[in-house]
Amino acid sequence: MSVVPISYYLVLSGVLFGLGVIAFVYKRNIITIFMSIELMLNAVNLAFVTFARAHDQLDGLVFVFFVIVVAAAEAAVGLAIVIMLSQNRQSLSIERINHLKL
């Protein structure tokens, strides 16, 4: 059985993470941004799984479960916020959402 080298997984994880970052910065639609966050989280999950497998330890897998749980919670809260925003602003563009400015 040919073993796929660990670096392949890590490179794939890095590429996915990078795509997520780029999408986060460049996309305007808040739903897309939300998706890019999920992409970054899962890129990290892939790295965790890879290392767990490489070192034969469970720690990484446990972390992955945590991340999935947090991601699910975040998606639930985040989407609720998105719905409220879209109802208040009639828009999903990130440009219109600058409430964080004091």
Partner: protein, 662 residues
């Protein structure tokens, strides 16, 4: 002996009066303020009387009696005790200061009755008494300096008493700043004294100078530096300019501070430091020359002044010049004697002038007075007595003291013909301007608005001090009278120990009393000496001055105008006080103001200091402005910055990792 061992009581009384009035007096009625102010000075005066009684029982070897109360400061070898001392000179000064001060406090209760800030006035006046008594009782130079600066402070406060009036506030500043120039010299003198003798204690200094050979140059330097302080404080050339302006203050202040006591502090200080001065002939000559020139010079200015108080101010400067002349020719006791008689008759002149001003409703210009003789008789008679005294008419106080000074200048051990001549001419001028003042004020036709001004004699609390001072102006000189009519010379004998104890050559009281009058040692013929005294020059010029004034202001009232037009150049030169104020303004005040404005204010303060402070503020603000743009509220820009941060950290970690790997 209670008081002698508690000398501080004499100081504490007026200080307490000042504190009580200053802190609480604002809400009190005038009688309450009066009783605190006059009461504290009365108690101080009684304490001084008791002190004199106890002092007279001391044996000569107990003098000077020093009371050391606490150590004020110690810094290495420099040690200052709060110490007071009593000797004959202190006793004379204490009596003069507390007695004249007491009378002027009483007079002020009448003169200031209609003024605002009544409690403030008396608080300052009591504070002045405290500092003046500190000055004369001090047993070392530093405590003396405390009194010296303290009276300057009170002088400033009281000249500017009507501080809403710009001229009064300016005059206060001028007095303070001008005397500060002299005090600078005084301070350096004190430091040099410490450097030379290792002590600032009078007793230690005098013992040291009498037993150790100290270079004459050093002594001359110390003496001249200390004398600089006296020049400022006692308004001598070239620092006299503040005293005439000080007349902006209330008249009792002019009488107490700017005639009788504070301005004589310089004379007292020179007399106190006599062991140093006597060993520095150059310094003595400087003192005598400054004194004689001032005596003559300011008398000439007094000739043409029309403000009644300014005539008296220039007269004070002139008389102080005589005191310094006396000290400069080595006759300290004559200087102190003139200080005493001058305190009486000049305080009287000022108080009487105050009474005149009070009577004519605040007018000070003599050209708007005249004919007041019958309307205010008590003022007239007392002022006439003081005028006779200052002019040196035989029998009155000023005659004895001035005659003694002029004899010392003309025939004493350090006699000098030119100084004597200046003194004699000055005495003639004194007589002239004083009788001019009397004639313009009390004689002739009234020149004030008779419909508007209701002339009235002053209340009793003003006339009684006048009467008492008039009494002193007549009899105050008789302490020394026997010297001139062939008897014992009480005043000089009394002071002789102070001036002979550490003198370069020991002077017996006998020799001291004869020093001023060599003839009296040869022929003890009272009648001849009396004739000698009466026919002497000072009396001659005094009478000449009187006759000239009478001729010009009573006999031919238009003579002054004709004379003024005939020598108009000289007239306007003297009338404008030799333009000294203008010259000082052009040479010193305006250049200083220019430098302060343009260099220190605009360039250094505004440019440099404000520039640094404002510049750093502006830089912080600009940096903040830039940083502010980061927080745009734009989520994507936040995300970009997070990314930049993550990348930065990654690079850093990589770099550290690679370095660790090497």
């Amino acid at each position: 002996m209670p008081i002698l061992h508690h000398l501080w009581i004499i100081l504490a009384l007026p200080l307490a009066g000042s504190a009580v009035n200053g802190l609480l007096g604002k809400r009190w009625s005038q009688p309450a303020v009066n009783s605190v102010a006059v009461g504290s000075v009365t108690l101080a005066l009684l304490s001084v009387f008791e002190l004199v009684r106890e002092f007279s029982q001391l044996s000569p070897d107990q003098l000077p009696f020093v009371g050391n109360y606490f150590t004020w400061m110690v810094a290495g070898p420099f040690r200052v005790d709060f110490a007071l001392q009593v000797d004959q000179l202190t006793v004379v000064m204490l009596l003069v200061v507390s007695f004249v001060g007491w009378l002027i406090h009483i007079y002020s209760t009448g003169y200031m009755a209609h003024e605002g800030g009544y409690y403030r006035f008396f608080s300052y006046l009591n504070l002045f008494m405290f500092f003046m008594l500190t000055l004369v009782m001090a047993a070392n130079l530093i405590v003396m300096f405390v009194g010296w600066e303290g009276v300057g402070l009170c002088s400033y406060l009281l000249i500017g008493f009507w501080f809403l009036k710009k001229s009064a506030a300016d005059a206060g500043k001028k007095a303070f700043i001008t005397t500060r120039i002299g005090d600078y010299g005084f301070t350096v003198g004190v430091l040099l004294t410490f450097a030379t003798f290792g002590s600032i204690d009078f007793g230690t200094i005098f013992k040291s100078v009498a037993s150790n050979p100290i270079s004459e140059t050093t002594l001359t330097a110390i003496s001249i530096l200390l004398f600089t302080g006296a020049v400022g404080k006692s308004a001598q050339l070239p620092l006299y300019v503040w005293l005439p302006d000080a007349m902006e203050g209330p008249t009792p202040v002019s009488a107490l501070i700017h005639a009788a006591t504070m301005v004589t502090a310089g004379v007292y200080m020179v007399a106190r430091m006599n062991p140093l001065f006597s060993r520095a002939p150059m310094a003595m000559l400087v003192v005598a020359i400054v004194g004689a020139i001032t005596a003559f010079y300011s008398a000439t200015i007094g000739l043409l002044q029309t403000d009644i108080k300014r005539v008296l101010a220039y007269s004070t400067v002139s008389q102080l010049g005589y005191m310094f002349l006396a000290c400069g020719v080595g006759s300290y006791s004559a200087g102190i004697f003139h200080l005493m008689t001058h305190a009486f008759f000049k305080a009287l002149l000022f108080l009487a002038a105050g009474s005149v001003i009070h009577a004519v409703g605040g007018e000070q210009d003599m050209m708007k007075m005249g004919g007041l003789r019958q309307k205010i008789p008590i003022t007239y008679w007392t002022m006439l007595i003081a005028t006779l005294a200052i002019a040196g008419i035989p029998g009155f106080a000023g005659f004895f003291s001035k005659d003694e000074i002029l004899e010392a200048a003309g025939a004493g051990p350090r006699a000098n013909f030119l100084l004597w001549l200046l003194g004699i001419v000055g005495a003639g001028l004194t007589s002239f301007y004083m009788f001019r003042l009397i004639f313009l004020t009390f004689f002739g036709t009234p020149r004030y608005d008779q419909q508007r001004v209701h002339v009235h004699e002053s209340p009793r609390n003003m006339t009684i001090p006048l009467t008492i001072l008039a009494f002193c102006s007549i009899f105050g000189g008789w302490f020394a009278a026997p010297h001139l009519v062939g008897g014992t010379d009480y005043f000089q004998r009394f002071l002789a120990p102070v001036f002979s104890m550490y003198a370069p050559q020991p002077i017996t009281p006998q020799a001291a009393s004869l020093a001023g009058n060599p003839e009296s040692g040869m022929a003890h013929n009272p009648a001849l000496e009396l004739a000698h005294a009466i026919l002497s020059w000072p009396v001659g010029v005094a009478i000449a001055g009187f006759l000239l004034a009478w001729w010009m202001y009573i006999r031919n009232p238009d003579a002054p105008k004709r004379l003024a037009t005939r020598v108009s150049g000289l007239y306007s030169l003297v009338f404008h006080k030799y333009y000294v104020d203008e010259i000082y303004s052009a040479l010193i005040v305006r250049p200083l103001l220019w430098i302060s404005t343009n260099v220190f204010w605009h360039a250094i303060d505004e440019g440099l200091i404000d520039g640094v402070v404002n510049g750093s503020a502006r830089a912080a603000r600009a940096a903040g402005g830039r940083a502010r743009e980061l927080q745009s509220g734009n989520t994507r820009s936040y995300a970009s910055w997070v990314l930049v941060g993550v990348l930065g950290f990654t690079v850093l970690l990589l770099a550290l990792y690679l370095r660790g790997a090497q």
